[in-house]
Symmetry: C2
Subunit: 340 residues, 2 copies
């Protein structure tokens, strides 16, 4: 297993990326290639000299960096020597098994499309994001998390099938429960889009549990949360914002008066636990499903621990050949959409 990591992407690059890499190495078997400015990355690695298996890390020089503010397609087309373009190209050439980056989601999606290409028969690749379920053993997967603001019913069917394969092969669930986000649980509810997608998902081989209401999503009602990218973006960001807000308010509430302060002190460990349960980076990155190769987007502000977790979760994604399995499922998808 050879894992290629964008050493320059994200808010905390290269320091946290390199630190996470160094921390991941002792617990994995494979090799890691860091892509980016050779001098900068060498210096970062030097900080950990003697403390990690140096023979399993190498650096691939890339002179440019793609930033979040840049127009994705243009950036991928013009910055040929960026860490992102170089990294994705290595996967394309078989010089590595998967690519991980904390850089721009849009550029990563564009890079996947232009360099690796779409899986034939898949209409629109998706960014699938892990969605933390408080108190559960595993997170759910939200497809699409924001790449496709406008979708066709066929696209939602693809999201369900790709997400189901991911949860089965990477998280190890058998028959993951696939739910369609809708206005109500009844079959007849919803928009033109969701009504048609309901029919298609119902005909597919996934374990489709039907419509799910947004109210039940945080309770873990389904393992694969299917929705268009606009709704997915709202779900992901609202969850983040609301959790942050509740924790902040609790903290403020817990500082008034001696009794309350004492109570808060006694509970501080539990509060920290809750905060960690919301920390997306604990759960690994977001795969870009539907392109011809494994690419994983890490949270832009990933800490070393987030980087390490993403690397660990990325291995079964490549090893269990999720991309090939998606490719093989395309025939089923086409049959369903033709019969509509």
């Amino acid at each position: 297993m050879k894992i290629i990591i964008d050493g320059m992407g994200g808010d905390n690059a290269p320091a946290e990326i390199v630190k996470g890499t160094v921390e991941a190495l002792p617990v994995i078997d494979g090799e890691i290639v860091l892509v980016g400015d050779e001098k900068v990355l060498t210096e970062e690695l030097r900080k950990y000299s003697g403390k990690y298996p140096e023979e399993r890390v190498s650096i691939r020089h890339a002179s440019e960096v793609i930033f979040n503010e840049e127009a994705p397609v243009k950036a991928i087309r013009t910055k040929k020597d960026s860490s992102m373009v170089v990294g994705i190209s290595m996967v394309k050439k078989g010089e590595g098994d998967l690519f991980i980056s904390a850089g721009s989601s849009g550029a990563l999606m564009a890079g996947g499309l232009f360099i690796l290409g779409r899986i034939q028969g898949i209409d629109r690749p998706a960014i699938a994001s892990v969605y933390p379920i408080l108190g559960a053993n595993h997170p759910s997967l939200l497809v699409d998390a924001g790449a496709n603001a406008e979708c066709k019913p066929q696209t939602l069917l693809e999201f369900g099938v790709m997400g189901s394969i991911y949860m089965e092969k990477v998280i190890g669930l058998s028959a993951p429960r696939v739910g369609l986000v809708n206005l109500g649980a009844e079959e007849t509810k919803g928009s033109t889009l969701t009504k048609a997608a309901y029919e298609m998902l119902h005909k597919s081989r996934v374990n489709f549990i039907g419509n799910v209401e947004a109210r039940d999503v945080p309770k873990g009602i389904c393992d694969v949360i299917v929705c268009d990218g606009f709704v997915g973006n709202v779900i992901l960001k609202l969850t983040e914002g609301l959790a942050w807000n509740i924790l902040k308010l609790l903290k403020r509430k817990f500082t008034g008066g001696a009794v309350v302060k004492m109570g808060a002190a006694l509970l501080s460990g539990k509060m920290r636990e809750l905060k960690n349960e919301f920390d997306y980076s604990e759960y690994g990155g977001a795969p870009i499903l539907g392109v011809k190769g494994p690419i994983i987007k890490m949270h832009g502000s990933s800490s070393a621990n987030g980087v390490k977790n993403t690397i660990l979760k990325a291995i079964p994604y490549a090893e269990n050949r999720v991309v090939q399995i998606i490719q093989n499922s395309v025939e089923e998808l086409e049959e369903i959409s033709i019969s509509e």
Copy 2:
């Protein structure tokens, strides 16, 4: 002021509806008419005999009830003697100033449309829901909360204008901040729908602060949250589900071990405070904006306290002639959409 209340709608009718009515009377000036089964309502009122200003309550008999499971349009058309149809008809005939019901949202919307009619120039009436902002002085208003799953840009413009008028006249904000829920804060982001709606809202007279991300909605970034009904439904229900889930998990976390238990005991008052801040019924009901008369939907499971709060908040809605002001704003709306 004569307030007409559906005595039979909602999960806790008639008991909590009547109790809330009785509790509201001492703090308001107006009269209340309870609509529904005369015998049942009389008996409920009898429980509070001598404890409320009886001369300001009357009962209007209606022999039927519309239930949540019924198809809204059919229910309104066939159950002519239902508490909902009778109540809305009283507003239409000028026998009351506004109508409040905890019954089916769909039927209430259909009743508004068929009995009172759409305000001319308003494409689609909306259900506007209060959205609690933790730690803030007032809630925001979410338009649309689920009535219109599919919208045109013009519809979103209407939502912004109607919501702005409501927040100004009922909550008393000057120049309420109107935000459009979108994928990112940048002007160029979004779907075909939101991009076009952005342009229209920008040209309108409302205090349009631009696109808002779902992440910032719970922080109170805007007073009027504009989105289509599908997204609005997701925002409302996800907030409810997630808050419930976080509080449940905290409760569970706070029961392990003596130290934690003691901490939790010291904080129980604060935890209750937080729970109350999420209680929608504290903030009053959801106005149906865009029909020719004030109709307010209460939460289906409103307690007496929720009923009372809804009555109190409903008074400025009717008194400040919000419906007429919306009617007067239609010309502006038409100018914007023609110039597009």
